[in-house]
Symmetry: D2
Subunit: 147 residues, 4 copies
């Protein structure tokens, strides 16, 4: 569906993900990269929790931000950078589970601005719960930008 300008986008996104110390620090893994989409997994660890032992909302936001950001990055030119302009996150259910999964997808890919959505799920005792949804604006930094 999406027009891809860099056929090697998958390797490029994986390299960018590996270059983010925060993703390593929290233990997140890039599990799927497609044209205009991206999926990130994160096993639960106590260090990532809030006072009730659920994933902290800040971590939910970090994963959603990245899933949307890399979904957009798949469609950009090989020499472009991606910047998050803003995102809006609704926390819809407690993020209680053994694993969190964030799925990002592109809604609109303009020349400079890209709009994405990400949905975040937790897998736990009661199956998969849709715990958060995000709407995001990215900016393409042509010819390698700030980020």
């Amino acid at each position: 569906m999406w027009r891809v300008s860099d056929p090697d986008f998958e390797a490029r996104v994986k390299a960018a993900f590996d270059a983010q110390p925060l993703m390593r620090f929290i233990g997140a893994a890039l599990t799927r990269v497609g044209a205009g989409e991206c999926c990130i997994d994160l096993p639960f660890r106590t260090e990532l929790s809030q006072q009730n032992g659920f994933f902290h909302g800040g971590i939910v936001g970090a994963l959603a931000d990245n899933a949307g950001g890399y979904a957009g990055y798949t469609l950009m030119a090989a020499d472009a950078g991606v910047l998050t302009v803003e995102y809006k996150l609704n926390l819809m259910a407690p993020a209680q589970g053994d694993r969190m999964v964030a799925e990002g997808q592109v809604l609109r890919a303009g020349r400079n601005l890209v709009v994405t959505r990400a949905d975040v799920f937790v897998d736990g005792e009661n199956g998969r719960i849709h715990c958060a949804t995000m709407q995001q604006t990215l900016m393409t930094m042509h010819g390698k930008g700030v980020a």
Copy 2:
């Protein structure tokens, strides 16, 4: 300006902050708590960075979310819990600096819903930069809620 229902709100907020493993994990500290406001500090560490060595946007969001959330929590009853319904974050400048500071304040305190704002700054070589701003909705969980 704000009507406080729990005179011991400061100790209550500090205890809640200390009960969040994520805040310890990233090294954040609660530096100021007032009626309807809250300030959180975070020294830079490589583990918290994105690919350019700036604070990761997810960490900016986590700090803003908490600064707004605890600002709202100061005004709640002693037996209430606080829940982030949603937040929207604009990343306005690269979060490049030695230290990040998030300042949250209440805009409207309703019986059930509380609206807050948080501004995030980084202190670096070029002084203080206003790197992000957030608008947030909280829910009061009367009689101790989920969170």
Copy 3:
């Protein structure tokens, strides 16, 4: 998919829509109501435009807000009221066309809070364009609230 508590939700939503003077004023029509979803149409009129002759962004927002709000209202009890807590709208393409269509759907229906999404399209010379997307939080006013 959604659990409906009021079997007469369709008539209830239509009556609520007809009771909004703004919708008549701009010429909007409710074209479809289903459990957890709602569709609103609006023919173009010069009075609704911005300086380039496209639908004004404020009208795009009004239609999206209502499409999401009524989608949520379909799932509420017969004696409940609905209140928009907040919404976030991305304007993705110029709203240039003869007709605007807003489609709202429920993402999460909690006891008090409901999260929805709305997509707005314009039909014009070049076919249908997806011009905006919205993410929204509603509050259920049990036993008829403010609205």
Copy 4:
């Protein structure tokens, strides 16, 4: 505080406001324009209301969007256009009153993107109420853009 690139920004903003049919249609007036700020007034009319006789949330959003948009437009070059990328609006209290006032201000003016905030008030029997707050992203269309 803000660096102005077009000394005639006030006349330019007024002309742009007057060129928007929607503002005339609803009866809004531009009451103040300063560097990085803008104020819009709107008297109440039944046609602008929702089912309880308050200003409709869509009208609140339209006014906030414009107040933020023109605040940003004051800082742009004489030959630039302004485009709303997205906005997020919290409706904090019923917009019940004889008059609505939206005050927009710039938070960050980048070369391409501008971040603004708008606060909306209603004046009624009980004085002035802060009924809504908005956070917005604008894009500068260099050399006259789409809008």
